[in-house]
Symmetry: C2
Subunit: 262 residues, 2 copies
């Protein structure tokens, strides 16, 4: 296994019941990352399903998850030949932390797309031209687990010069020897800093709801993350992420609705 | 009330329990439209919530809904000051038809956006330049309820000449005297023909999962629907719809994952 594999492992303890130990290093301060939580939820959903992949995950983040023990309850809602749906709930201290509707299916890595849209424009500059703004400090935390190389044009907010456009782009991989799979994609779709930082927003931007779709089995190597948003109004903003793999394929899509302060 | 108002009405029959009568005229053949079902689900969610609007609705379509009586079960998962989340299940004949996680909140119609992206390109041609391909026949059915005027450039599939690009654009309003609101938006985000018809796909394209976000209180008048997709692979396709109101504002966003035959 690997750090990410260990950190997202679920142990079956009964019919539709799992246990996990949430790893605080996949988070910031005391809040565990939402993508990491989805990776854990999706592992439970897939384990309880006849299908191999989390094709659709709609997660509602009800409360902040803390490092430590968690229970997962997988309530099967329908099992079909092509897809199965379950309600997966992550519980800590008898409180619901995340509710997710997860549709599992089985994607064939050998499938050629019938039709594929063009990659997003602009492309992310080469790895060499990008910057690691969050180098591993040796002190643990998210940046120790994930290697991200950012398009500098989207990182002006770090220096108090937000670009004015809610976009952030970056290369992504786990520092682990862990190649992209369904669960790494769950982490990837919520790994970028909030795109509204480029609109001058500050502070924490809690995700209320995030839906992501796994579209293909990813190739080994770096993933390209293209994050953008369409509207910030009344403290609500949307953020969509497309994830492209090293073979140039769209492998995941997400959209979340989140809150921000001023 | 109105036909749409009546058809989506829910009657509270107990704590978190509602009844509705599904109107077959909001559907095609014997299948009731998914957007119509979401309008019914969202009415129940809002009725059971302290908040006024369905800010996020993630619906999983488990089985085909039939016209006639349905029960709705609203299971409150968390109630907060800014938002509340519930699991809403539509049941017919003791079988789950749709499961939806619904986050309610209250949007202020007077709020000016902090930041808004540009409207989609290309714009939809004027109403006069668009075509009503599905005129009301007087025989009932979806086209009798909804007035849609299509951008002809996106309707080649009707004549066996699919455009090759999975996009469909149309103006939308209810034929009723019923101005756009949250529930009309639920109908609108799933009202377009499947965009994969422009890739040569044929037949029914059942939605597996659809998430939509209400972003603003819509102005009276026509709604503009911009539908597009990014990938068709292994029989799975995504379809996203942006809904813009007559005041030129983004009022709803959706993405669904659906199945198609060849």
């Amino acid at each position: 296994m690997s750090r990410f594999g260990d950190a997202t492992a679920v142990k079956r303890v009964g019919e539709g019941r799992y246990e996990a130990v949430l790893d605080g290093d996949f988070g910031f301060a005391e809040a565990v990352n939402g993508g990491y939580l989805m990776a854990v939820l999706d592992r439970a959903a897939v384990d309880a399903s006849p299908h191999a992949h989390p094709v659709a995950t709609s997660a509602n983040f009800l409360r902040v998850a803390k490092p430590g023990r968690a229970e997962l309850i997988v309530d099967s809602r329908k099992t079909g030949r092509t897809a199965a749906t379950s309600l997966v709930t992550l519980v800590q201290d008898d409180r619901r932390i995340v509710d997710a509707l997860v549709t599992t299916g089985t994607l064939d890595a050998a499938t050629e797309p019938s039709w594929a849209g063009a990659p997003p424009v602009p492309a992310i500059p080469s790895l060499e031209e990008c910057t690691d703004f969050t180098p591993g400090s040796g002190e643990g935390g998210f940046a120790e687990q994930v290697d991200m190389r950012f398009d500098r044009a989207t990182m002006g907010w770090l220096d108090g010069r937000p670009s004015g456009t809610p976009e952030i782009r970056a290369w992504f991989r786990l520092r682990d020897p862990y190649e992209p799979d369904a669960f790494a994609l769950a982490l990837a779709v919520d790994a970028l800093p909030p795109v509204v930082l480029n609109l001058g927003a500050q502070g924490w931007a809690p995700t209320v709801e995030l839906t992501w779709h796994m579209r293909a089995v990813p190739a080994p190597g770096w993933l390209a993350l293209h994050g953008g948003g369409r509207l910030l109004s009344g403290g609500w903003f949307d953020e969509g992420v497309e994830v492209w793999d090293s073979a140039g394929r769209l492998v995941a899509q997400s959209r979340q609705i989140a809150r921000t302060g001023r």
